[in-house]
C-alpha cells in the first residue's frame, strides 16, 4: 500500500496493516486518562475493556499513579518499558496531544484518539488541529480518530470505547467503519440484537491519519469478513475508497454504505450542463453502483441490508416464495417485493399439494401463501410450510411472516426449516415482543429476522444486488 508523502520516517512508521494487526489483537494497551472518577471518558474506557473480558495487559496512565480498577497505574507513558500495541487517548485535548508526542518517542503501533477538540471544533480547535498534524507528520505509529468512539473486536474481547452500545456482540462476518461513533453504536446494537456477528468495528472519527479507505482495505480483505458496513460523511480519498470497494465486491465481498451529509463544495457554480447533471448525490449513487457498493438510504436500512447479507446465502435468481399467517402482511410483502423487481410466482404443483395439508379452504396455497391462523394450532406447521416453499424449484428466496408466537417449538421448527436449505430465508416476525418464545435459535444461526415487511424488503434489495438482476 502506498504511504502518504508526509512520511519521512518510513523505516519506523508501521504500514496500515502492521498497525491494525497490532490494534485488533493487542498484547498491551495503555489507557491515557484512566480514572477512578465515574463519568470520565477514561474511566469508562477502562471499565468496559475489563468488563468485556479483555485478556491482555492493560496499563492505566494517570498522573497520580496508584491503582485504578485493580490495575497498577503509571504516571506517564514514558514509565512504560517495552512495546505498547495500542495507546488510547481519553483525556482533554491538551493532555492528549502531550501524550501523543510521548508516543513518538516510544514503541507504539497504534493510537486510538477518543479525545475531541480538533478540526470538528472549527476555529476553537484550529491550533490543536495544527499541532496534531505536526505530530502525525513524523509519527512512527498510526492514529485512529481523533474525535471517535473507538474500536471493537469481539473475537479478542477488545472493547476500546467509552460507549456501552457495543457490549455483548458476538464474533462474526460483519466489519463496520463509521465516521460517526453514535451511528456505529446504533448499528452495532441493532445487529447484535439480531444475532449478526461482528468481526470488527472502527469509529474512524476525523480520520486525520487512517481513513475509511485504509480501513475498508484492511477489514474487507480479512478472511473473516463477509460484509463491510460503512457510514461516511466525507470521503477524503473517495477515489481510493471506490477502487478498494470495486476489488472487494469483485472478490465476492459485500460493501454496504450510508453516505450522510453533503459535500461542502457541492454548491460551487458550474459552467456546463455536466456540472449540473452530475450533482454530488447522483455521482455517489452512480459510483457506488459501478463499484458494487450497496447504498443504503440511512443507518437502519443499512442494518437491514447487512442482516440479509451476513447470513452468507446467495440467491440463484429473483423469485420469492412468501408464506404468511395472515393475508394482509403477505400482500404487503408481495407488493414491496414486486416493486423492488422481484417475482412472486405461482408455486410448483407439488409444493401446493404439500401446503394443502396445513392450509384450510379459506386460505391460499398459491403465492403469497396465506396459511391463516389455523396453523398456529400446531407449533411445527409454519416451519414445515416454510421448508416446503424453500424446497420449491421455482423459488430462489423464501420469506416467512409470523406475528405472535405461542411457544418455543414454533421457533425451533423455523430454525429447522432454515437448516434444511441453502437458499436465503428471511423471517418477518411482527410480534417478537408479544410472544412466549425466544428468538435465540434464529439468532444463533444468524437467520435474518425483521419486524416489518418494509424492513425485510431492504434485506431483499441487498440480496438482489448480489445477483445483479434487480437494480
Amino acid at each position: 500500500m502506498a504511504e502518504p508523502e508526509t512520511n519521512r520516517m518510513a523505516t519506523r512508521r508501521p504500514s496500515v496493516a502492521q498497525a491494525l494487526d497490532g490494534l485488533f489483537d493487542p498484547r498491551t494497551i495503555a489507557v491515557v486518562g484512566a480514572s477512578r472518577t465515574k463519568g470520565k471518558l477514561g474511566q469508562a474506557v477502562l471499565a468496559l475493556l475489563k468488563s468485556n473480558g479483555y485478556r491482555g495487559k492493560i496499563i492505566p496512565v494517570n498522573p497520580s499513579g496508584g491503582e485504578i480498577e485493580g490495575l497498577a497505574a503509571v504516571r506517564s507513558l514514558d514509565e512504560i518499558d517495552g512495546p505498547i500495541d495500542v495507546v488510547v487517548l481519553a483525556t482533554p485535548v491538551g493532555v492528549a496531544l502531550d501524550a501523543l508526542e510521548s508516543c513518538a518517542r516510544l514503541d507504539v503501533k497504534a493510537v486510538v484518539g477518543v479525545t475531541s477538540g480538533f478540526s470538528e471544533a472549527g476555529e476553537d480547535g484550529r491550533s490543536n488541529e495544527m499541532r496534531l498534524r505536526r505530530i502525525m507528520q513524523d509519527a512512527p505509529f498510526r492514529l485512529v480518530g481523533p474525535n471517535c468512539e473507538g474500536v471493537v473486536r469481539p473475537a479478542t474481547d477488545l472493547q476500546l470505547t467509552f460507549s456501552p452500545m457495543f457490549n455483548g456482540l458476538r464474533p462474526g462476518p460483519v466489519a463496520m467503519i463509521s465516521q460517526s461513533g453514535a451511528l456505529a453504536g446504533l448499528m452495532a446494537l441493532r445487529l447484535g440484537e439480531r444475532g449478526v456477528g461482528i468481526n470488527a468495528i472502527v469509529s474512524s472519527g476525523n480520520e486525520t491519519d487512517l481513513t475509511a479507505a485504509d480501513l475498508l482495505e484492511y477489514l474487507g480483505n480479512d478472511p473473516e469478513t463477509r460484509v463491510v458496513l460503512c457510514y461516511v460523511e466525507e470521503l477524503r480519498d473517495g477515489r481510493r475508497f471506490a477502487e478498494v470497494a470495486r476489488r472487494l465486491t469483485q472478490d465476492g465481498k459485500h460493501v454496504v454504505a450510508v453516505k450522510g451529509g453533503r459535500s461542502r463544495a457541492g454548491s460551487r457554480a458550474v459552467q456546463s450542463h455536466t456540472g449540473a447533471m452530475a450533482g454530488d448525490d447522483r455521482v455517489i449513487s452512480a459510483v457506488f453502483r459501478e463499484t458494487g457498493v450497496i447504498r443504503a438510504r440511512e443507518s437502519v436500512a443499512a442494518v437491514d441490508a447487512v442482516t440479509a447479507l451476513a447470513a452468507g446465502r446467495r440467491p440463484a435468481g429473483n423469485r420469492v416464495g412468501i408464506i404468511s399467517v395472515t393475508g394482509g402482511l403477505g400482500v404487503e410483502m408481495t407488493d414491496l417485493a414486486e416493486s423492488a423487481g422481484f417475482e412472486v410466482p405461482v408455486l410448483d404443483e407439488a409444493t401446493q399439494t404439500a401446503l394443502s395439508h396445513y392450509v384450510p379452504f379459506y386460505g391460499s396455497v398459491s403465492n403469497p401463501v396465506d396459511l391463516t391462523g389455523v396453523v398456529l394450532a400446531n407449533p411445527t406447521y409454519v416451519g414445515r410450510c416454510l421448508k416446503a416453499v424453500a424446497a420449491d424449484p421455482g423459488v430462489d428466496i423464501a420469506i416467512a411472516i409470523i406475528t405472535f408466537v405461542p411457544d418455543q417449538q414454533f421457533i425451533e421448527a423455523l430454525a429447522e426449516a432454515f437448516d434444511s436449505t441453502g437458499k436465503p430465508i428471511l423471517i418477518v416476525w411482527t410480534g417478537a415482543a408479544r410472544s412466549n418464545a425466544s428468538g435465540e435459535a434464529l439468532r444463533e444461526r444468524a437467520v435474518p429476522v425483521y419486524d416489518s415487511p418494509a424492513r425485510a424488503a431492504s434485506g431483499l434489495a441487498a440480496l438482489a444486488a448480489m445477483t445483479g438482476e434487480v437494480a
Partner: protein, 223 residues
C-alpha cells in the same frame, strides 16, 4: 504540438472557457468526428465562437439552414457585433437519429467522472444520464449506452431507426480517457449535442465546450 501542449498554451494564455471552434479542433485531434467545415454546397450553420459567450444562442450567435454564401455573410455580421470572436461555418447535421450529451468533470469526492445521456432539450431529464468513473474503458462505455432510459431512445423508439451505439461508446471512452489524462488542466469538457446517426453511420460533435482549470499560481491565490 500534442493536445496536452495545446491545453497548456491555452491555460498559460489565461483562457478559462475554450470556445467551440477551438474545442472542436482539439476533439478532432483525439479522434472525435466533427461536422465538415466551410462546405461549398448544402445547408450550413454559421456560428460565432467566443470564450466570453459559451451559450451562443442566447446572444444570437447561431444561424441555421443557410446556403454557403449566406453563411459567410451571417458569420461576417456576427463578427462585427462581437469583437474577438471566431467565425465557424459547418455543414448542418441532418441525418441524425439521436442527440446525446457527453460530459466529463472532476468530482470533489471521486475525481474524474464521465456522464452520457439524452442531449439537446432532453438534458433537463437529469435522471436519464449515466455516470461512471473516468477513464471509462470500452466495456464500461458500452454499458453506459445500454443502460437507463436513454438506451431505449438509442435502440429506436416506436419504429425509429436504431442509433450507432458503437460509435457513441467509442466517443465516450475516448473523451473520458483524454479527460482523465489531463484532468489537472481541464475541469470540465462537454459535447452537447453529439448528433448520433443510424447504426453504422457514425456521429458528429455538433457543439463542444472545454473549461480549463485555473493554473497553479491562480489556484494558490484562491486559497
Amino acid at each position: 504540438m500534442t493536445p496536452r501542449e495545446t491545453l497548456e498554451n491555452w491555460q498559460r494564455a489565461g483562457r478559462k472557457v475554450v470556445h467551440e471552434a477551438d474545442a472542436k479542433d482539439l476533439l478532432q485531434r483525439i479522434g472525435i468526428p466533427v461536422p465538415k467545415r466551410d462546405p461549398t454546397e448544402g445547408r450550413c450553420v454559421a456560428k460565432l465562437c467566443h470564450d466570453d459567450y459559451p451559450h451562443k444562442s442566447d446572444h444570437g450567435l447561431v444561424r441555421l439552414g443557410l446556403a454557403p454564401e449566406e453563411a459567410q455573410q451571417a458569420a461576417a455580421e456576427m463578427a462585427q457585433r462581437f469583437a474577438g470572436g471566431t467565425p465557424l461555418i459547418e455543414e448542418m447535421e441532418e441525418g441524425s437519429v439521436a442527440e446525446w450529451i457527453i460530459g466529463c468533470k472532476r468530482d470533489d469526492t471521486f475525481g474524474p467522472i464521465v456522464l452520457a445521456g439524452p442531449g439537446g432539450i432532453l438534458v433537463e431529464l437529469i435522471d436519464a444520464a449515466e455516470i461512471r468513473l473516468a477513464p471509462a474503458g470500452p466495456q464500461t462505455a458500452e454499458t453506459m449506452v445500454d443502460s437507463g432510459p436513454g438506451a431505449r431512445l438509442l435502440a429506436g423508439l416506436r419504429g425509429a431507426e436504431p442509433a450507432d451505439k458503437g460509435a457513441l461508446a467509442d466517443l465516450i471512452s475516448r473523451i473520458s480517457v483524454f479527460f482523465a489524462e489531463n484532468a489537472d488542466l481541464i475541469s470540465e469538457i462537454e459535447i452537447n449535442p453529439v448528433m448520433v446517426r443510424a447504426d453504422g453511420k457514425g456521429l458528429a460533435a455538433a457543439d463542444a465546450l472545454i473549461v480549463l482549470s485555473p493554473n497553479a499560481d491562480e489556484q494558490e491565490s484562491l486559497t
